[in-house]
Symmetry: C2
DNA sequence: ATTGTAACAGACCAGGTGGTCGATATTAAA
DNA sequence: TTTAATATCGACCACCTGGTCTGTTACAAT
């Protein structure tokens, strides 16, 4: 049973390093050799564990990317408090994390989305799955908010979710190059403004 | 004087086709030969006019991309009417255009932004220039709106601009693969919601 | 110790990449 | 018609890419 422990260990090493390089240089600008070189491994090792580069990347998505997005954007908004507050805190933390990361290349998920959008259906499938989970989670958070009297009942939950996802993806793109901190601050202020407009009206309480 | 007319003609052909392929396949997944093949031109022709592939791409940005973004996102919001209405119409039209384009790969500018963000300073420079022009234009439109009584005076123009850019970039990414039309509709509804929250309050009139 | 298999090494390959370079075609001026 | 600059051709190069394959190690079971 412990025999495939080594197997999983090297696979983990390859996938972690792979994600790191794919993120920083892009998928097609990162060669299999690039990854192997940094790990002092050989082609033989790689193609013993994976059928192809594409297959390898799909494994990375399902093993690593899913969890990252989950812990960064989904788990933090699962709670019974005001969902608008949860989302605000969640976005704030995620953006703050990006600000402090001096080697920031944007939002992991959306970078890959952009690279494969309309170009590679096999890779897009698991990426879209992640997107869907995120969306569903946002929708249910907002609906919870309606039920608990935090969010105006007339608000379209799906619409708000799409709007939130859009703005997050976009701000992460805009934060990479110029004045990330300032842009984060401005973004968060407008997000609160938007939230104010969809929260349950105070007069009706 | 008309001697360099032929020169400009073939350069135009190469750049137009280049942009088309760079957009649909990405910069690094498009080879110079790909472009040349479609135009029945040879390497010699290409490297007679351009120093390198990178140089070629920068020319494309400055000659074609700038104009496209300008006519699509900047020019339509230059007017003396309600800027929030102008921006709404502008976004609506841009998104509608994407919905009807069966070969949509996302927002031209943001695709390249994503591909080169933090990776290629020479290419990022002209891309950031375009971004800046867009931002400045949005800011001044909103300020105009404040002056003319359409937008609440307490609104942070820079913040609103960043927020608008973010959401637009994001929605274009989300519209590529799944149900673009539905997402566009939801997005526009929430955009109007946000605009309602920053327009000049009716009570103060 | 022997065996068998899982894990890895690394030479190798075919195809593609950006880019070079001398030969050639086109064309406007002399 | 000659000339000379402009514009284009296409063979060529060094290098890199994903992927294959044969061989070698490490190690658990017998």
């Amino acid at each position: 049973m412990e025999k495939n422990l080594k197997r999983l260990a090297t696979m983990q090493r390859m996938e972690v390093k792979g994600l790191e390089l794919f993120y920083s240089k892009g998928y097609s600008n990162t060669s299999v050799d690039d990854i192997l070189k940094e790990l002092s491994l050989s082609k033989g090792a790689f193609y013993y564990h994976y059928e192809s580069k594409e297959d390898f990347f799909i494994q990375i998505i399902q093993n690593l990317l899913v969890r990252k997005v989950y812990s960064m954007l989904i788990e933090p908004i699962e709670g019974h408090e005001n969902p608008l507050q949860l989302i605000t805190n969640c976005f704030d933390e995620a953006l703050e994390c990006a600000v402090h990361n001096e080697m920031d290349y944007g939002f992991l998920l959306s970078n890959f989305l952009n690279e494969f959008n309309g170009r590679n259906a096999r890779i897009m499938a698991p990426l879209n799955d992640i997107l869907k989970v995120w969306e569903v989670n946002l929708v249910s958070a907002i609906q919870r908010g309606k039920f608990n009297g935090f969010v105006d009942r007339h608000v379209d939950s799906e619409g708000a979710a799409v709007y939130l996802m859009s703005s997050f993806i976009g701000i992460r793109t805009l934060m990479v190059e110029s004045s990330p901190s300032a842009r984060k601050y401005r973004f968060m202020a407008q997000l609160r403004q938007y939230f104010k407009s969809i929260e349950a009206s105070h007069t009706s309480v």
